[in-house]
Every structure is written in structure tokens, then in C-alpha cells.
């Protein structure tokens, strides 16, 4: 079939412009919606409880996070590095406190804290209740002088944590005049609601 053979193949180019346009749109969307988390207490893993009725979103800036893990440890962290350095003396330090003196703190074994089994942030342990209370007050004061705004407090508790620990923490918060705080929850999925 010489006729076919002789036919010169025109170089085939696909016009990529519409494709690139769409990709750019998607890219713009993701760039705009992306939120970079200040490496908050991510090193400690908690399974959040579900709730269906909260419409308030987690505040983004100026937050003090109190993480309660399933071993009953309380970790206090702020998202501002300056405040952290000011109060803890370590820009990446993480304050830890174990309210229940009858059990062992869980942070002594790094494998308890996250999947990777390694802790990148040094833990500064507080064994004394009064000192931990002072820490919370210092966090607030330091944040006020460094950032100029009041800290918002969120409590991130593990599903499996004992209520006793949460109650101890609530008492400490009350004694330090932090009467407004929030519990962090995950949005309840519909299938759970049917149960």
C-alpha cells in the first residue's frame, strides 16, 4: 500500500491550554483553602470524640491547646513560638502534667505518644499542680504582652480518656480564671446518628 506509506504524518500536537486552565483553577483553589498548621501538639495522638451539634470552627490563631491523651496526661501548648520560649525557655518545648498521682504518666514511653514512636519535641514535665497552674497563667500573660490578644483555650481530649482527668483540668482552668474554653470534637457522621 504505497499510498498509505507515502503519506507524511503531520506532527501531532494536542492543545494543552484548556487542560492547563482547569488544573490552574484547581491549584488556585487548593492554595487558597490550604491552612498551614502551626506545628501544634501534633506529636501527641488523640482520637477526637464525635458531636453533631457544634457549628463553631476551631480558632486558627492565638490558641492554647490542652491535649489529654488516653493515659491521663495533660499537655499544654501555645501556637506562638515567642510565648513558648518566654514561658518554657524552649521554643519547641511541650509542657506536660499528670494530674492523677496514682497512675504513671504515659509520656515516659515515647511509643505511647504517636505512631512513629519518636518525639521531636522535648517534654517539660510539671509534677506540681501549683506550678502547672502558674504555667497556664504565664502563658496567658506572655501571650497578652507578646501578641496583644487574649489566648483562646481549646481542650483536645482523647475518646478513651477518663472523665476524671478532664474534671481535674476543668478545675485547674476554673481556678486560673479561664472560665471560657472549648472542647474540640469531630463532626458526627450521619451513619452514627442513626444508631
Amino acid at each position: 500500500m504505497p499510498a498509505v506509506k507515502r503519506r507524511k504524518r503531520p506532527s501531532q500536537t494536542i492543545d494543552m491550554t484548556p487542560y492547563v486552565d482547569v488544573i490552574m483553577l484547581i491549584l488556585t483553589f487548593f492554595i487558597l483553602t490550604a491552612q498551614f498548621k502551626a506545628e501544634l501538639a501534633e506529636d501527641i495522638q488523640v482520637k477526637l470524640p464525635n458531636s453533631g451539634n457544634d457549628t463553631t470552627k476551631l480558632p486558627e490563631r492565638n490558641v492554647m491547646t490542652l491535649v489529654i491523651n488516653r493515659f491521663g496526661d495533660v499537655f499544654a501548648d501555645v501556637d506562638n513560638i515567642k510565648v513558648r520560649e518566654d514561658v518554657l525557655g524552649d521554643p519547641i518545648g511541650l509542657a506536660a502534667y499528670h494530674p492523677d498521682s496514682t497512675t504513671q504518666p504515659g509520656w515516659t514511653n515515647p511509643a505511647n505518644l504517636n505512631d512513629k514512636g519518636e518525639m521531636r519535641r522535648p517534654i517539660i514535665a510539671f509534677n506540681d499542680r501549683e506550678k502547672f497552674k502558674k504555667l497556664l497563667i504565664d502563658f496567658r500573660l506572655s501571650s497578652k504582652s507578646n501578641v496583644g490578644k487574649d489566648l483562646r483555650i481549646v481542650v483536645k481530649g482523647d475518646k478513651e480518656a477518663d472523665i476524671g482527668t478532664v474534671q481535674d483540668l476543668m478545675e485547674i482552668l476554673k481556678e486560673t480564671k479561664n472560665t471560657r474554653f472549648s472542647f474540640v470534637t469531630d463532626l458526627e457522621t450521619d451513619e452514627k446518628e442513626k444508631k
Binding site: K159, A161, D162, K174, F183
Partner: protein, 174 residues
């Protein structure tokens, strides 16, 4: 790295006349592939790092004031919600003479219905929540969530569980 290819007007070179008019303009095109590659990488990065479900928060306001300040309430307005170690809910209504009615064991759904019923009948209803220390935090959030969901005035306070409360809970099966 995008290569720009432009054809020279090869055939028309030798001719003197119509030098300018005859030269055919060949559309040049930019190779977009590397560009698309980079864009795709960026896109993948942002999709991977974006967190779509932002956690939500449940606002709690504790009463201000000292530990010693006591507030007197009419027992007739009080509803006790007790959570046992196993996560069972005991619901009982206080009476004006200081005692309380027989506790009933309810699930979350029933608790909301009872609370809605009592809350609409008595606008001054106050809920007192007593949690067993060993109960799970998940239960606490579920109870608070259910109270928030109920169409009543959200007046509740947390209280410590004491000896009589354990007995009440035992009566409904712990």
C-alpha cells in the same frame, strides 16, 4: 526550558521581489509539558497537605467565682444526670422538699426527650451533671452534645460524684 520553534521562510529566500509579502508566518508553539508537570506537582502537594475536615469546638462556660460561693437553688428545678463508670445514664428529678425521684436508666435519645419534656414544663430547670471519674470522655461529649441538641434552656453545671450518687447509680444497675 520551553522551546520556541520558529520556521524560517526557507523556500522564499532566493527571490528578490515580494520579499516581505510572501514570507509565510508559521505559528510557533510553546511546549507546555514541563510547565504542566510542575503545576501537577504543586497541585498534588496542596491536595495532600490540605485538611478538609476542620475539627469543631464545643464552647463551655464555667461559672466565675470562688470555689466557696454556693448558689442556692430550688430542688424542684433540679435534674440530676449521673453517668456511671460503664457509661450508663441515670436521670432523676429533684423534688422541692430536697429529696429526689427514683432515677431512671435512659439512653441518650431518651434523655433528650425527657429533658425536653421537663424543660418546656419548667423554664427554670437546672441540670446537674455528675460523671464517674473513670467514665470515658467520649460519653461526656455525647451527653453534652445531646443537651446542646435539646430544645431547652442550656443551664447545666458540673458537680463531683459523691457516695450517695454511687448508691443511686447502683440502683439502676451501675
Amino acid at each position: 526550558m520551553a522551546s520556541v520553534e520558529q520556521a524560517e521562510g526557507g523556500e522564499n529566500r532566493g527571490r528578490k521581489q515580494n520579499k516581505w509579502q510572501n514570507r509565510k508566518r508559521v505559528g510557533f508553539h510553546i511546549d507546555m509539558t514541563p510547565y504542566v508537570d510542575v503545576i501537577m506537582l504543586l497541585l498534588t502537594f496542596f491536595i495532600m497537605t490540605s485538611t478538609l475536615n476542620q475539627p469543631q469546638v464545643m464552647q463551655i462556660n464555667l461559672p466565675k467565682g470562688d470555689e466557696n460561693t454556693t448558689v442556692k437553688v430550688d430542688m424542684g428545678n433540679v435534674v440530676f444526670i449521673r453517668i456511671s463508670e460503664k457509661g450508663n445514664i441515670g436521670l432523676s428529678k429533684g423534688k422541692s422538699d430536697g429529696t429526689e425521684e427514683q432515677p431512671i436508666k435512659v439512653n441518650l435519645e431518651q434523655m433528650r426527650q425527657y429533658l425536653e419534656g421537663w424543660g418546656t414544663a419548667n423554664k427554670d430547670m437546672i441540670m446537674i451533671l455528675k460523671f464517674h471519674r473513670k467514665a470515658k470522655y467520649d460519653t461526656m461529649i455525647s451527653v453534652l452534645d445531646e443537651i446542646n441538641r435539646a430544645a431547652i434552656e442550656k443551664r447545666y453545671s458540673f458537680s463531683k460524684m459523691e457516695e450517695p450518687d454511687f448508691k443511686v447509680l447502683e440502683a439502676i444497675g451501675g
